[in-house]
Symmetry: C2
Subunit: 339 residues, 2 copies
DNA sequence: ATGAAAGCGCTAACAA
DNA sequence: TTGTTAGCGCTTTCAT
């Protein structure tokens, strides 16, 4: 059995409370430097390791944060988690990660489990809109931050990329290359990103003076490669004149590649493709994907900072952080074919 | 404030101890079914959620496992973590994840932090050999499982892929295609996988009757894309006759692609390349990578099962689980060029 | 079958 | 500055 605070106190010839104060930086000021030193030495000698469980029971703080993601194997979330972790660990917190598999029930359970384990704050990177879990969390005053999602109507902290700017940059790039018939493979309308990117696409098409009927939108059931493939098949079948596709994320764009291969079309000669997110490896596919780079690590880091802020000052009012994005032009976009 | 066990007890008109027994499946037998029902209803009514912190303080068990990985953003580890999580959650445990950045100091700190938080068991997916952290853990009788690493000389649980078989399958594939001058880009000799794969390469070269001097080995400083590129440059400069490369992991193989592009060589026409691990997206690069498929999700799932086994029966003796691997032939391998 | 009492290891009033 | 006391919420003897 490892040494407890009482053991340390006894060894240093002081009371447990004094030992506690001596060992805790915040209360160290209340104790005589000499005794503090004795206590520290005794602790060292006994190999004392404080028991955070006992501390938590007393203080109602666990020094841990919960992070809820739809799927840790999605390359999008690894850097987000990494960002959260780095900031949290630096502040003395650790992070409990929970997967939801995009299932509302599992999300509810995981959040409940995290709350039962008394995490001090929560970061949600699950993208569903109108999520009842969130309202409960807000009502219960649990410090939370949303990642990769905006909820303009809710008093809540959030971190997201400037999706509108990303879509605009992508569209203008295609427009400058000469494309006039551009399709959008939209993300699920149950996600905040899907909705925002789609709406911006429509707006910007108008801004550029393109005809809505030349720029079809097909919605993917989920952000997966196969959905991208299915959507592009629909587009090509129904709008053969399209010369470029703007996909709502990289996975959907990669799905497009499969359809091109299967139909003997080449990218970018026959069709230009643009993705969104710049996940790892899309620079290694062929052709290297032109996409919108999003700073996912910073999403996580910023989200963690926002939770910690709330922990420091519970009265602080919510803010939304919008991180800049930038188009990365690679090999999947070029001028449209001559007709 | 949420309801405590005392509140439930009071509401049901019983003592806290009775409420505790009624709510705990293991002790439910000691209590009158009628009172048990009353307690359960009261708990339901008050929305009682047990406080695991208080329970842990008393029982010395936290129902949580620690998972230590070198880098969560490495696509190799996401499925491992996912496997751990799925099994752990199904058994009522949750998982604390810690990154080490491949830094020994950080590994020590993270393990210490996890232990301080009283995790019931640990899973280490960090690959360094002769790791002092491990001996300490063994000495302290902490239930642990090593993942993707074998330590034949240590009495310890481990889960790994059959690396030797993977290397053999890859080499025979190349040999059958007609390659006789095959280079190996080895992983760091500080990792168990690096050592085993390299040794098997040497052995198998002999088995196949190939000359050691025709089959150079270059060791990568780490398992990164850039290291793969650097190693291949060395190989091509010093052994221009080589017609195939077997890389110790996929990232190193992808690094080879970059060198081929930069030298105007084509894969597989000029040089065949084989990877190891079959991480996501290596089927999307160009040419699609021939590689050894490893069941990483199962690594995690099996590791979690092994920890849980130890928790159930602390006296159980260590075992090593070796999971099968299989070569996936894609587009990066072909017959050697005619000379 | 249930209640009483103690205590896990720590911290925070309060008192001295 | 230090000690005393109490208690966080739960489980577990021991007694009834």
């Amino acid at each position: 059995m490892s040494a407890t605070l009482r053991d340390v106190a006894a060894a240093a010839g002081v009371h447990a409370a004094t030992a506690s104060r001596a060992l805790n930086p915040e209360t160290l000021g209340m104790v005589n430097p000499a005794t503090a030193k004795r206590v520290r030495e005794a602790a060292e000698r006994l190999g004392y390791v404080p028991n955070p469980i006992a501390r938590s029971l007393k203080t109602n703080r666990t020094l841990s944060l919960g992070a809820v993601v739809p799927d840790i194997t999605n390359p999008l979330f690894a850097p987000i988690i990494r960002g959260i972790e780095d900031v949290a660990v630096a502040a003395g917190y650790n992070v409990l990660i929970a997967n939801t598999d995009n299932e509302p029930d599992r999300e509810r359970d995981q959040v409940a489990s995290l709350r039962a384990r008394q995490v001090d704050g929560l970061i949600l990177a699950t993208a569903r809109i109108e999520d009842p879990v969130i309202s409960t969390l807000i009502a219960d005053k649990v410090p939370i931050v949303l990642v990769n999602r905006v909820e303009p109507d809710l008093p809540i902290f959030s971190v997201a990329g400037d999706d509108a700017s990303g879509i605009r940059q992508a569209l203008r790039h295609l427009h400058e290359l000469g494309h006039r018939r551009i399709a959008h493979i939209a993300g699920p309308s149950s996600t905040s990103t899907g909705v925002v990117r789609r709406r911006t696409f429509q707006l910007e098409i108008g801004e550029l003076g393109l005809a809505a009927e030349d720029c079809p939108i097909v919605e993917a059931a989920s952000y997966q490669i196969e959905d991208g493939a299915g959507c592009l098949r629909t587009v090509l079948d129904e709008h053969p004149g399209v010369t470029a596709v703007l996909a709502a994320n990289d996975l959907l764009a990669i799905g497009c590649y499969e359809v091109l291969a299967e139909r003997g079309l080449s990218c970018p000669a026959d069709l230009s493709v643009v993705g969104f997110n710049d996940i790892p490896f899309v620079d290694k596919v062929w052709p290297p994907l032109t996409t919108v780079h999003v700073r996912h690590y910073d999403f996580g880091a910023e989200a963690a900072r926002l939770v910690l802020e709330q922990l420091r000052d519970p009265a602080i009012s919510p803010k939304s952080v919008l991180l800049s994005v930038s188009l990365v032009v690679r090999g999947s976009t070029a001028a449209p074919p001559d007709r």
